[in-house]
Symmetry: C2
Subunit: 312 residues, 2 copies
Protein backbone atom coordinates (compact mmCIF):
# COMPACT_ATOMS: atom_id res chain seq x y z
CA UNK A 1 0.00 0.00 0.00
CA UNK A 2 1.30 3.45 -0.90
CA UNK A 3 1.46 5.79 2.07
CA UNK A 4 2.49 9.41 2.54
CA UNK A 5 5.05 10.98 4.87
CA UNK A 6 2.59 11.51 7.73
CA UNK A 7 1.20 7.98 7.51
CA UNK A 8 4.78 6.72 7.50
CA UNK A 9 5.57 8.69 10.66
CA UNK A 10 2.43 7.33 12.36
CA UNK A 11 3.35 3.74 11.48
CA UNK A 12 6.83 4.19 12.95
CA UNK A 13 5.40 5.74 16.13
CA UNK A 14 3.10 2.73 16.63
CA UNK A 15 6.01 0.27 16.91
CA UNK A 16 8.78 -0.06 19.47
CA UNK A 17 11.32 -2.60 18.18
CA UNK A 18 12.29 -1.43 14.74
CA UNK A 19 14.86 -3.01 12.47
CA UNK A 20 16.21 -0.96 9.56
CA UNK A 21 17.64 -2.73 6.51
CA UNK A 22 19.96 -1.04 4.03
CA UNK A 23 20.96 -2.45 0.69
CA UNK A 24 24.01 -4.67 0.22
CA UNK A 25 27.29 -2.95 -0.73
CA UNK A 26 25.99 -0.02 1.32
CA UNK A 27 26.59 3.50 0.02
CA UNK A 28 26.23 6.96 1.55
CA UNK A 29 22.53 7.30 0.84
CA UNK A 30 21.33 3.96 2.20
CA UNK A 31 23.54 4.35 5.30
CA UNK A 32 22.68 8.03 5.75
CA UNK A 33 18.98 7.15 5.49
CA UNK A 34 19.30 4.19 7.85
CA UNK A 35 21.34 5.86 10.58
CA UNK A 36 19.38 9.13 10.40
CA UNK A 37 16.12 7.23 10.88
CA UNK A 38 17.68 5.09 13.64
CA UNK A 39 18.88 8.21 15.50
CA UNK A 40 15.44 9.80 15.18
CA UNK A 41 13.74 6.65 16.52
CA UNK A 42 16.19 6.55 19.47
CA UNK A 43 15.01 10.04 20.37
CA UNK A 44 11.47 8.65 20.56
CA UNK A 45 12.67 5.93 22.98
CA UNK A 46 12.45 3.09 20.46
CA UNK A 47 14.72 0.06 20.33
CA UNK A 48 16.28 0.15 16.92
CA UNK A 49 19.14 -1.16 14.82
CA UNK A 50 20.53 -0.83 11.28
CA UNK A 51 21.74 -3.97 9.51
CA UNK A 52 23.55 -4.62 6.22
CA UNK A 53 24.48 -7.75 4.34
CA UNK A 54 28.00 -6.44 3.70
CA UNK A 55 30.73 -4.69 5.59
CA UNK A 56 30.47 -0.89 5.76
CA UNK A 57 33.46 0.97 4.25
CA UNK A 58 35.45 2.66 7.04
CA UNK A 59 34.96 6.16 5.63
CA UNK A 60 31.29 6.12 6.71
CA UNK A 61 32.27 5.54 10.35
CA UNK A 62 31.30 9.04 11.52
CA UNK A 63 27.66 8.17 10.93
CA UNK A 64 27.49 5.32 13.44
CA UNK A 65 30.67 5.05 15.54
CA UNK A 66 28.83 6.16 18.70
CA UNK A 67 26.00 3.64 18.21
CA UNK A 68 26.22 0.29 20.03
CA UNK A 69 24.34 -2.35 18.02
CA UNK A 70 21.88 -4.42 20.05
CA UNK A 71 20.09 -7.73 19.52
CA UNK A 72 16.31 -7.70 19.72
CA UNK A 73 13.22 -9.25 18.17
CA UNK A 74 11.84 -6.66 15.75
CA UNK A 75 8.10 -5.98 15.56
CA UNK A 76 8.56 -3.74 12.50
CA UNK A 77 11.07 -3.96 9.65
CA UNK A 78 11.90 -1.01 7.40
CA UNK A 79 14.01 -1.10 4.23
CA UNK A 80 15.57 2.22 3.19
CA UNK A 81 16.86 3.03 -0.31
CA UNK A 82 16.29 -0.59 -1.39
CA UNK A 83 14.63 -0.77 -4.84
CA UNK A 84 14.21 -4.55 -5.02
CA UNK A 85 14.44 -7.14 -2.24
CA UNK A 86 17.33 -8.95 -3.93
CA UNK A 87 19.42 -5.82 -3.31
CA UNK A 88 19.31 -6.86 0.35
CA UNK A 89 21.96 -9.43 -0.53
CA UNK A 90 22.27 -12.14 2.08
CA UNK A 91 19.49 -10.57 4.13
CA UNK A 92 16.98 -11.26 1.36
CA UNK A 93 14.09 -13.39 2.58
CA UNK A 94 15.19 -13.25 6.19
CA UNK A 95 12.54 -10.72 7.28
CA UNK A 96 8.98 -9.78 6.44
CA UNK A 97 9.34 -6.16 5.36
CA UNK A 98 6.63 -3.90 6.74
CA UNK A 99 7.77 -0.61 5.25
CA UNK A 100 9.95 0.51 2.37
CA UNK A 101 11.14 4.11 2.04
CA UNK A 102 12.75 4.58 -1.35
CA UNK A 103 13.40 6.98 -4.23
CA UNK A 104 13.77 4.51 -7.12
CA UNK A 105 11.01 4.63 -9.73
CA UNK A 106 11.82 0.96 -10.45
CA UNK A 107 10.89 -0.08 -6.89
CA UNK A 108 9.28 -3.53 -7.03
CA UNK A 109 6.87 -2.80 -4.14
CA UNK A 110 7.98 -5.80 -2.07
CA UNK A 111 6.91 -4.28 1.28
CA UNK A 112 3.50 -3.97 3.00
CA UNK A 113 3.74 -0.17 3.04
CA UNK A 114 5.55 1.96 0.50
CA UNK A 115 6.72 5.55 0.78
CA UNK A 116 8.25 6.20 -2.61
CA UNK A 117 9.07 9.64 -3.97
CA UNK A 118 10.92 10.64 -7.09
CA UNK A 119 13.73 12.63 -5.48
CA UNK A 120 17.50 12.36 -5.99
CA UNK A 121 18.27 10.74 -2.62
CA UNK A 122 16.34 8.54 -0.21
CA UNK A 123 17.69 10.76 2.58
CA UNK A 124 15.60 13.61 1.22
CA UNK A 125 12.44 11.56 1.99
CA UNK A 126 13.82 10.41 5.38
CA UNK A 127 14.40 14.09 6.27
CA UNK A 128 10.69 14.74 5.75
CA UNK A 129 9.72 11.64 7.76
CA UNK A 130 11.95 12.76 10.65
CA UNK A 131 10.36 16.20 10.59
CA UNK A 132 6.95 14.52 10.72
CA UNK A 133 8.18 12.44 13.71
CA UNK A 134 8.78 15.82 15.36
CA UNK A 135 12.15 15.00 16.98
CA UNK A 136 15.02 17.42 17.40
CA UNK A 137 17.63 17.02 14.67
CA UNK A 138 21.15 17.19 16.14
CA UNK A 139 24.37 17.65 14.20
CA UNK A 140 25.14 13.91 13.95
CA UNK A 141 21.71 13.19 12.55
CA UNK A 142 22.15 16.13 10.17
CA UNK A 143 25.52 14.65 9.09
CA UNK A 144 23.78 11.38 8.15
CA UNK A 145 21.10 13.08 6.05
CA UNK A 146 23.60 15.43 4.40
CA UNK A 147 25.79 12.43 3.52
CA UNK A 148 22.87 10.80 1.73
CA UNK A 149 22.08 13.94 -0.24
CA UNK A 150 25.66 14.67 -1.29
CA UNK A 151 26.67 11.10 -2.20
CA UNK A 152 23.60 10.32 -4.31
CA UNK A 153 23.85 13.64 -6.19
CA UNK A 154 27.62 13.52 -6.80
CA UNK A 155 28.01 16.51 -4.48
CA UNK A 156 24.92 18.28 -5.88
CA UNK A 157 26.34 17.97 -9.38
CA UNK A 158 23.95 15.63 -11.21
CA UNK A 159 21.08 17.10 -13.19
CA UNK A 160 18.63 15.17 -11.00
CA UNK A 161 19.48 17.54 -8.14
CA UNK A 162 16.52 19.84 -7.53
CA UNK A 163 16.04 23.15 -5.76
CA UNK A 164 14.50 21.16 -2.88
CA UNK A 165 17.70 19.11 -2.54
CA UNK A 166 19.71 22.33 -2.17
CA UNK A 167 17.16 23.67 0.32
CA UNK A 168 17.37 20.46 2.35
CA UNK A 169 21.18 20.76 2.36
CA UNK A 170 20.94 24.37 3.56
CA UNK A 171 18.64 23.36 6.41
CA UNK A 172 20.96 20.52 7.40
CA UNK A 173 23.99 22.83 7.47
CA UNK A 174 21.99 25.19 9.70
CA UNK A 175 21.32 22.16 11.94
CA UNK A 176 25.04 21.46 12.21
CA UNK A 177 25.94 19.14 9.31
CA UNK A 178 29.69 19.40 8.69
CA UNK A 179 29.44 19.74 4.91
CA UNK A 180 33.13 20.56 4.40
CA UNK A 181 34.36 17.50 6.27
CA UNK A 182 31.81 15.14 4.72
CA UNK A 183 32.54 16.25 1.17
CA UNK A 184 36.28 15.96 1.70
CA UNK A 185 35.87 12.37 2.94
CA UNK A 186 33.45 11.44 0.16
CA UNK A 187 34.94 13.26 -2.80
CA UNK A 188 38.45 14.53 -2.20
CA UNK A 189 40.41 11.79 -0.55
CA UNK A 190 41.32 8.52 -2.19
CA UNK A 191 43.22 5.69 -0.54
CA UNK A 192 46.47 4.69 -2.22
CA UNK A 193 45.01 1.30 -3.05
CA UNK A 194 41.91 2.90 -4.59
CA UNK A 195 44.13 5.25 -6.61
CA UNK A 196 45.89 2.17 -8.02
CA UNK A 197 42.57 0.57 -8.94
CA UNK A 198 41.41 3.80 -10.58
CA UNK A 199 44.58 3.94 -12.68
CA UNK A 200 44.08 0.34 -13.81
CA UNK A 201 40.41 1.12 -14.56
CA UNK A 202 41.37 4.15 -16.67
CA UNK A 203 43.89 2.00 -18.53
CA UNK A 204 41.08 -0.43 -19.40
CA UNK A 205 38.88 2.33 -20.86
CA UNK A 206 37.72 1.60 -24.41
CA UNK A 207 35.44 3.54 -26.77
CA UNK A 208 32.75 2.28 -29.15
CA UNK A 209 30.11 3.64 -31.55
CA UNK A 210 32.06 6.75 -32.61
CA UNK A 211 33.17 7.37 -29.02
CA UNK A 212 29.56 7.66 -27.83
CA UNK A 213 29.96 4.55 -25.66
CA UNK A 214 32.79 4.26 -23.12
CA UNK A 215 33.48 1.04 -21.23
CA UNK A 216 35.74 0.38 -18.27
CA UNK A 217 36.36 -3.25 -17.31
CA UNK A 218 37.41 -4.35 -13.86
CA UNK A 219 38.70 -7.89 -13.43
CA UNK A 220 39.27 -10.02 -10.34
CA UNK A 221 42.98 -9.87 -11.23
CA UNK A 222 42.86 -6.06 -10.86
CA UNK A 223 41.48 -6.42 -7.32
CA UNK A 224 44.34 -8.79 -6.50
CA UNK A 225 47.01 -6.58 -8.12
CA UNK A 226 45.88 -3.43 -6.32
CA UNK A 227 44.74 -4.85 -2.98
CA UNK A 228 41.14 -3.66 -3.50
CA UNK A 229 37.70 -5.29 -3.50
CA UNK A 230 34.44 -4.64 -5.32
CA UNK A 231 33.50 -2.33 -2.44
CA UNK A 232 36.13 0.10 -3.74
CA UNK A 233 34.61 0.45 -7.22
CA UNK A 234 31.82 2.90 -6.35
CA UNK A 235 33.62 6.04 -7.62
CA UNK A 236 34.68 4.34 -10.87
CA UNK A 237 31.29 4.30 -12.62
CA UNK A 238 30.94 8.09 -13.06
CA UNK A 239 34.37 8.22 -14.75
CA UNK A 240 33.00 6.51 -17.85
CA UNK A 241 30.57 9.35 -18.45
CA UNK A 242 33.19 12.05 -17.92
CA UNK A 243 34.76 11.98 -21.36
CA UNK A 244 33.57 14.56 -23.88
CA UNK A 245 31.10 13.10 -26.37
CA UNK A 246 30.30 9.96 -24.38
CA UNK A 247 26.56 9.32 -24.03
CA UNK A 248 26.67 5.89 -22.40
CA UNK A 249 29.35 5.00 -19.87
CA UNK A 250 29.50 1.45 -18.56
CA UNK A 251 31.66 -0.16 -15.91
CA UNK A 252 31.74 -3.95 -16.23
CA UNK A 253 32.92 -5.69 -13.08
CA UNK A 254 33.94 -9.34 -13.08
CA UNK A 255 32.57 -11.23 -10.09
CA UNK A 256 34.40 -14.03 -8.27
CA UNK A 257 32.31 -16.64 -10.12
CA UNK A 258 33.37 -15.24 -13.49
CA UNK A 259 30.04 -13.62 -14.35
CA UNK A 260 29.60 -9.84 -14.53
CA UNK A 261 27.87 -6.83 -13.06
CA UNK A 262 27.47 -3.63 -15.08
CA UNK A 263 27.02 -0.07 -13.78
CA UNK A 264 25.54 2.20 -16.42
CA UNK A 265 25.77 6.00 -16.50
CA UNK A 266 24.16 8.17 -19.18
CA UNK A 267 23.26 11.76 -19.99
CA UNK A 268 19.71 12.94 -20.83
CA UNK A 269 19.86 11.48 -24.34
CA UNK A 270 19.71 7.86 -23.14
CA UNK A 271 17.67 6.13 -20.41
CA UNK A 272 20.15 4.10 -18.36
CA UNK A 273 17.34 2.09 -16.72
CA UNK A 274 16.13 1.01 -20.17
CA UNK A 275 19.54 -0.38 -21.03
CA UNK A 276 19.80 -2.14 -17.66
CA UNK A 277 16.31 -3.55 -18.09
CA UNK A 278 17.35 -5.28 -21.31
CA UNK A 279 19.59 -7.41 -19.05
CA UNK A 280 17.06 -7.84 -16.24
CA UNK A 281 18.37 -4.94 -14.15
CA UNK A 282 17.00 -1.51 -13.29
CA UNK A 283 17.68 1.92 -11.82
CA UNK A 284 17.27 5.55 -12.74
CA UNK A 285 17.27 7.62 -15.95
CA UNK A 286 20.99 8.33 -15.71
CA UNK A 287 22.32 5.63 -13.39
CA UNK A 288 21.36 1.96 -13.51
CA UNK A 289 22.83 -1.51 -13.01
CA UNK A 290 22.39 -5.11 -14.08
CA UNK A 291 23.96 -8.55 -13.82
CA UNK A 292 25.11 -10.42 -16.90
CA UNK A 293 25.69 -14.14 -16.67
CA UNK A 294 28.74 -14.47 -18.89
CA UNK A 295 32.41 -13.57 -18.95
CA UNK A 296 33.70 -10.03 -19.28
CA UNK A 297 34.43 -10.07 -23.05
CA UNK A 298 30.98 -11.43 -23.86
CA UNK A 299 29.33 -8.95 -21.47
CA UNK A 300 31.10 -6.03 -23.15
CA UNK A 301 30.02 -7.33 -26.56
CA UNK A 302 26.36 -7.59 -25.51
CA UNK A 303 26.39 -4.19 -23.81
CA UNK A 304 27.97 -2.49 -26.81
CA UNK A 305 25.37 -4.09 -29.08
CA UNK A 306 22.39 -3.00 -26.94
CA UNK A 307 23.90 0.47 -26.48
CA UNK A 308 24.19 0.81 -30.25
CA UNK A 309 20.50 -0.03 -30.63
CA UNK A 310 19.53 2.57 -28.03
CA UNK A 311 21.68 5.26 -29.65
CA UNK A 312 20.00 4.78 -33.03
Amino acid sequence: MRIDVNECASLLKEHNNILILTHAHPDGDTLGSGYALCRALYKLGKICSVVNADEIPAKYGYMYDDIVPIEFKPDFVVAVDVATDNLLGELQGRYHINLCIDHHSTNTEYADNLLIEDVPAASQIIFKVIKALDVEIDSRLADCLYTGLTTDTGCFRYSSTTADTYRAAAELIDLGADNGKINRIMFETKTKTYAKLERAALDSMRFYDNDRVCIITITQQMYRDTGTTEQDTEPIAPLTRGIEGVEIGITVKEKADGTCKASIRTFESVNAAQLAKAFGGGGHMQAAACRIDCNIEEAVKRLVEKSGELLK
Copy 2:
Protein backbone atom coordinates in the same frame (compact mmCIF):
# COMPACT_ATOMS: atom_id res chain seq x y z
CA MET B 1 33.98 54.04 0.97
CA ARG B 2 32.25 50.87 2.15
CA ILE B 3 28.64 50.64 0.99
CA ASP B 4 25.85 48.10 1.48
CA VAL B 5 23.74 46.23 -1.06
CA ASN B 6 21.00 48.88 -1.23
CA GLU B 7 23.48 51.76 -1.62
CA CYS B 8 25.16 49.74 -4.35
CA ALA B 9 21.85 49.30 -6.19
CA SER B 10 21.12 53.05 -5.89
CA LEU B 11 24.54 53.94 -7.32
CA LEU B 12 23.99 51.67 -10.30
CA LYS B 13 20.50 53.11 -10.91
CA GLU B 14 21.93 56.65 -11.01
CA HIS B 15 24.17 55.91 -14.00
CA ASN B 16 23.37 54.97 -17.59
CA ASN B 17 26.60 53.93 -19.33
CA ILE B 18 28.14 51.26 -17.17
CA LEU B 19 31.31 49.30 -17.89
CA ILE B 20 31.92 46.08 -15.97
CA LEU B 21 35.49 44.78 -15.54
CA THR B 22 36.30 41.18 -14.68
CA HIS B 23 39.70 39.87 -13.64
CA ALA B 24 42.28 38.58 -16.14
CA HIS B 25 42.30 34.82 -16.89
CA PRO B 26 38.55 35.02 -16.25
CA ASP B 27 36.87 32.19 -14.33
CA GLY B 28 33.24 31.22 -13.74
CA ASP B 29 32.68 33.54 -10.80
CA THR B 30 34.05 36.76 -12.30
CA LEU B 31 32.24 36.08 -15.61
CA GLY B 32 29.03 34.94 -13.90
CA SER B 33 29.08 38.07 -11.75
CA GLY B 34 29.84 40.33 -14.72
CA TYR B 35 27.29 38.95 -17.14
CA ALA B 36 24.57 38.61 -14.50
CA LEU B 37 25.00 42.26 -13.54
CA CYS B 38 25.14 43.29 -17.21
CA ARG B 39 21.89 41.42 -17.96
CA ALA B 40 20.19 43.04 -14.95
CA LEU B 41 21.32 46.53 -16.05
CA TYR B 42 20.00 45.88 -19.59
CA LYS B 43 16.61 45.23 -18.05
CA LEU B 44 16.77 48.70 -16.53
CA GLY B 45 17.48 50.16 -19.97
CA LYS B 46 21.16 50.89 -19.29
CA ILE B 47 23.97 50.78 -21.84
CA CYS B 48 26.40 48.24 -20.49
CA SER B 49 29.31 45.99 -21.40
CA VAL B 50 31.61 43.42 -19.78
CA VAL B 51 35.33 43.51 -20.62
CA ASN B 52 38.28 41.22 -19.83
CA ALA B 53 42.00 41.47 -20.40
CA ASP B 54 42.18 37.89 -21.67
CA GLU B 55 40.24 35.62 -23.93
CA ILE B 56 37.26 33.82 -22.37
CA PRO B 57 37.47 29.99 -22.50
CA ALA B 58 34.82 28.67 -24.93
CA LYS B 59 33.02 26.62 -22.27
CA TYR B 60 31.61 29.82 -20.71
CA GLY B 61 29.91 30.80 -23.99
CA TYR B 62 26.37 30.12 -22.75
CA MET B 63 26.65 33.11 -20.43
CA TYR B 64 27.13 35.72 -23.14
CA ASP B 65 26.62 34.27 -26.64
CA ASP B 66 23.41 36.27 -27.16
CA ILE B 67 25.01 39.57 -26.07
CA VAL B 68 26.36 41.90 -28.75
CA PRO B 69 29.23 43.95 -27.30
CA ILE B 70 28.94 47.70 -27.93
CA GLU B 71 31.38 50.60 -27.77
CA PHE B 72 30.44 53.52 -25.54
CA LYS B 73 31.97 56.06 -23.18
CA PRO B 74 31.29 54.78 -19.66
CA ASP B 75 30.14 57.15 -16.91
CA PHE B 76 30.51 54.43 -14.25
CA VAL B 77 33.01 51.59 -14.00
CA VAL B 78 32.44 48.50 -11.85
CA ALA B 79 34.99 45.76 -11.08
CA VAL B 80 33.52 42.39 -10.04
CA ASP B 81 35.41 39.64 -8.20
CA VAL B 82 38.68 41.60 -8.57
CA ALA B 83 40.69 41.59 -5.31
CA THR B 84 43.51 43.90 -6.44
CA ASP B 85 43.70 46.16 -9.47
CA ASN B 86 46.72 44.33 -10.91
CA LEU B 87 44.43 41.31 -11.37
CA LEU B 88 42.83 43.36 -14.15
CA GLY B 89 45.84 42.40 -16.27
CA GLU B 90 46.24 44.63 -19.30
CA LEU B 91 43.20 46.67 -18.28
CA GLN B 92 44.96 47.85 -15.11
CA GLY B 93 45.18 51.65 -14.97
CA ARG B 94 42.96 52.16 -18.00
CA TYR B 95 39.85 53.20 -16.06
CA HIS B 96 38.96 55.06 -12.89
CA ILE B 97 37.03 52.43 -10.95
CA ASN B 98 33.91 53.76 -9.26
CA LEU B 99 32.68 50.57 -7.65
CA CYS B 100 34.14 47.21 -6.66
CA ILE B 101 31.92 44.25 -5.72
CA ASP B 102 34.08 41.48 -4.29
CA HIS B 103 34.29 38.59 -1.82
CA HIS B 104 38.05 38.49 -1.13
CA SER B 105 39.12 39.45 2.39
CA THR B 106 42.44 40.55 0.82
CA ASN B 107 40.72 43.23 -1.32
CA THR B 108 43.02 46.27 -1.59
CA GLU B 109 40.14 48.80 -1.69
CA TYR B 110 41.25 50.40 -4.96
CA ALA B 111 37.75 51.65 -5.94
CA ASP B 112 35.71 54.71 -4.82
CA ASN B 113 32.92 52.50 -3.48
CA LEU B 114 33.35 49.04 -2.04
CA LEU B 115 30.75 46.33 -1.54
CA ILE B 116 32.75 43.51 0.03
CA GLU B 117 31.24 40.53 1.81
CA ASP B 118 32.90 37.40 3.14
CA VAL B 119 30.95 34.84 1.08
CA PRO B 120 32.26 31.94 -1.05
CA ALA B 121 31.47 33.55 -4.42
CA ALA B 122 31.16 37.12 -5.72
CA SER B 123 28.01 35.99 -7.54
CA GLN B 124 26.32 35.50 -4.18
CA ILE B 125 26.70 39.27 -3.55
CA ILE B 126 25.68 40.16 -7.12
CA PHE B 127 22.50 38.10 -6.61
CA LYS B 128 21.57 40.33 -3.68
CA VAL B 129 22.39 43.49 -5.66
CA ILE B 130 20.18 42.33 -8.54
CA LYS B 131 17.33 41.64 -6.13
CA ALA B 132 17.78 45.16 -4.76
CA LEU B 133 17.66 46.50 -8.35
CA ASP B 134 14.23 44.85 -8.51
CA VAL B 135 14.51 43.40 -12.01
CA GLU B 136 13.04 40.12 -13.13
CA ILE B 137 15.62 37.32 -13.11
CA ASP B 138 15.29 35.17 -16.21
CA SER B 139 16.85 31.77 -16.77
CA ARG B 140 19.96 33.08 -18.56
CA LEU B 141 20.67 35.53 -15.76
CA ALA B 142 20.10 32.69 -13.28
CA ASP B 143 22.58 30.55 -15.26
CA CYS B 144 25.26 33.24 -14.85
CA LEU B 145 24.78 33.54 -11.08
CA TYR B 146 24.61 29.76 -10.59
CA THR B 147 27.84 29.39 -12.58
CA GLY B 148 29.61 31.76 -10.20
CA LEU B 149 28.37 29.91 -7.13
CA THR B 150 29.22 26.45 -8.38
CA THR B 151 32.67 27.22 -9.83
CA ASP B 152 33.98 29.12 -6.80
CA THR B 153 32.77 26.41 -4.37
CA GLY B 154 34.03 23.41 -6.38
CA CYS B 155 30.39 22.44 -6.99
CA PHE B 156 29.32 23.24 -3.40
CA ARG B 157 32.08 20.97 -2.09
CA TYR B 158 34.52 23.28 -0.31
CA SER B 159 34.13 23.85 3.41
CA SER B 160 33.65 27.57 2.72
CA THR B 161 30.21 26.80 1.23
CA THR B 162 27.48 28.03 3.59
CA ALA B 163 23.79 27.30 4.01
CA ASP B 164 23.12 30.65 2.28
CA THR B 165 25.08 29.49 -0.78
CA TYR B 166 22.86 26.41 -1.01
CA ARG B 167 19.75 28.58 -0.53
CA ALA B 168 20.90 30.94 -3.30
CA ALA B 169 21.45 27.93 -5.59
CA ALA B 170 17.93 26.64 -4.81
CA GLU B 171 16.40 30.01 -5.68
CA LEU B 172 18.36 30.18 -8.93
CA ILE B 173 17.21 26.70 -9.96
CA ASP B 174 13.64 27.80 -9.25
CA LEU B 175 14.31 30.78 -11.53
CA GLY B 176 15.43 28.47 -14.32
CA ALA B 177 19.18 27.94 -13.88
CA ASP B 178 20.15 24.76 -15.72
CA ASN B 179 22.26 23.30 -12.90
CA GLY B 180 22.72 19.90 -14.54
CA LYS B 181 24.08 21.35 -17.78
CA ILE B 182 26.31 23.92 -16.07
CA ASN B 183 27.88 21.41 -13.70
CA ARG B 184 28.45 18.97 -16.50
CA ILE B 185 30.32 21.62 -18.50
CA MET B 186 32.31 22.82 -15.49
CA PHE B 187 33.07 19.58 -13.67
CA GLU B 188 32.22 16.41 -15.53
CA THR B 189 33.54 16.55 -18.98
CA LYS B 190 37.14 15.93 -19.89
CA THR B 191 38.43 15.88 -23.44
CA LYS B 192 39.88 12.57 -24.57
CA THR B 193 43.32 14.19 -24.91
CA TYR B 194 43.16 15.59 -21.37
CA ALA B 195 42.08 12.17 -20.08
CA LYS B 196 45.22 10.71 -21.67
CA LEU B 197 47.42 13.32 -20.03
CA GLU B 198 45.75 12.69 -16.67
CA ARG B 199 46.39 8.97 -16.98
CA ALA B 200 50.08 9.58 -17.79
CA ALA B 201 50.28 12.01 -14.85
CA LEU B 202 48.77 9.43 -12.47
CA ASP B 203 51.28 6.85 -13.75
CA SER B 204 54.10 9.23 -12.81
CA MET B 205 52.83 9.64 -9.23
CA ARG B 206 55.49 8.85 -6.59
CA PHE B 207 55.41 9.02 -2.80
CA TYR B 208 58.07 10.20 -0.34
CA ASP B 209 58.51 10.79 3.39
CA ASN B 210 56.25 7.94 4.56
CA ASP B 211 53.67 8.83 1.89
CA ARG B 212 53.23 12.33 3.28
CA VAL B 213 54.61 13.86 0.07
CA CYS B 214 53.14 12.98 -3.33
CA ILE B 215 54.76 14.13 -6.57
CA ILE B 216 53.45 14.02 -10.13
CA THR B 217 55.90 14.81 -12.93
CA ILE B 218 54.83 16.04 -16.35
CA THR B 219 57.38 16.00 -19.14
CA GLN B 220 57.44 17.66 -22.57
CA GLN B 221 57.34 14.14 -23.99
CA MET B 222 53.98 13.57 -22.25
CA TYR B 223 52.51 16.66 -23.98
CA ARG B 224 53.71 15.30 -27.32
CA ASP B 225 52.42 11.76 -26.64
CA THR B 226 48.95 12.93 -25.60
CA GLY B 227 48.46 15.96 -27.85
CA THR B 228 48.18 18.36 -24.91
CA THR B 229 49.96 21.54 -23.77
CA GLU B 230 50.78 23.11 -20.42
CA GLN B 231 47.37 24.89 -20.62
CA ASP B 232 45.75 21.49 -20.03
CA THR B 233 47.51 20.81 -16.73
CA GLU B 234 45.30 23.00 -14.50
CA PRO B 235 43.17 20.13 -13.11
CA ILE B 236 46.25 17.95 -12.43
CA ALA B 237 47.64 19.80 -9.38
CA PRO B 238 44.72 19.02 -7.01
CA LEU B 239 45.11 15.29 -7.75
CA THR B 240 48.37 15.15 -5.75
CA ARG B 241 46.55 16.21 -2.60
CA GLY B 242 43.73 13.74 -3.09
CA ILE B 243 45.52 10.67 -1.76
CA GLU B 244 44.84 9.71 1.85
CA GLY B 245 47.69 10.69 4.17
CA VAL B 246 49.36 13.10 1.75
CA GLU B 247 50.15 16.47 3.33
CA ILE B 248 52.13 18.00 0.47
CA GLY B 249 51.19 17.36 -3.15
CA ILE B 250 53.46 18.70 -5.86
CA THR B 251 53.13 18.72 -9.64
CA VAL B 252 56.46 19.31 -11.37
CA LYS B 253 56.10 20.40 -14.99
CA GLU B 254 59.02 20.38 -17.39
CA LYS B 255 59.18 23.53 -19.51
CA ALA B 256 60.30 23.64 -23.14
CA ASP B 257 63.76 24.90 -22.07
CA GLY B 258 64.27 21.90 -19.76
CA THR B 259 63.77 23.82 -16.48
CA CYS B 260 60.76 23.25 -14.24
CA LYS B 261 57.67 24.80 -12.70
CA ALA B 262 56.11 23.34 -9.54
CA SER B 263 52.49 23.62 -8.35
CA ILE B 264 52.15 22.91 -4.64
CA ARG B 265 48.96 21.85 -2.84
CA THR B 266 48.69 21.22 0.90
CA PHE B 267 46.13 20.71 3.66
CA GLU B 268 45.97 22.84 6.83
CA SER B 269 49.10 21.20 8.34
CA VAL B 270 51.56 22.77 5.89
CA ASN B 271 51.85 26.28 4.42
CA ALA B 272 52.21 25.82 0.65
CA ALA B 273 53.38 29.41 0.17
CA GLN B 274 56.27 28.79 2.59
CA LEU B 275 57.51 25.86 0.52
CA ALA B 276 57.16 27.86 -2.72
CA LYS B 277 59.01 30.79 -1.13
CA ALA B 278 62.06 28.58 -0.51
CA PHE B 279 62.36 28.45 -4.32
CA GLY B 280 61.53 32.13 -4.90
CA GLY B 281 57.82 31.51 -5.57
CA GLY B 282 54.65 32.35 -3.64
CA GLY B 283 50.90 31.86 -3.27
CA HIS B 284 48.32 30.94 -0.66
CA MET B 285 48.27 28.70 2.45
CA GLN B 286 47.08 25.66 0.51
CA ALA B 287 48.02 26.43 -3.11
CA ALA B 288 51.31 27.94 -4.29
CA ALA B 289 53.79 27.75 -7.17
CA CYS B 290 57.45 28.33 -8.03
CA ARG B 291 60.01 27.93 -10.82
CA ILE B 292 63.09 25.74 -10.38
CA ASP B 293 66.02 26.21 -12.75
CA CYS B 294 67.11 22.61 -13.19
CA ASN B 295 65.92 19.39 -14.80
CA ILE B 296 62.98 17.41 -13.53
CA GLU B 297 64.92 14.78 -11.50
CA GLU B 298 66.93 17.45 -9.70
CA ALA B 299 63.78 19.54 -9.09
CA VAL B 300 62.00 16.56 -7.53
CA LYS B 301 65.05 15.91 -5.33
CA ARG B 302 65.17 19.50 -4.07
CA LEU B 303 61.39 19.65 -3.49
CA VAL B 304 61.37 16.36 -1.58
CA GLU B 305 64.24 17.63 0.58
CA LYS B 306 62.56 20.96 1.42
CA SER B 307 59.22 19.21 2.00
CA GLY B 308 60.91 16.88 4.48
CA GLU B 309 62.28 19.87 6.39
CA LEU B 310 58.82 21.49 6.55
CA LEU B 311 57.17 18.27 7.75
CA LYS B 312 59.61 17.90 10.66
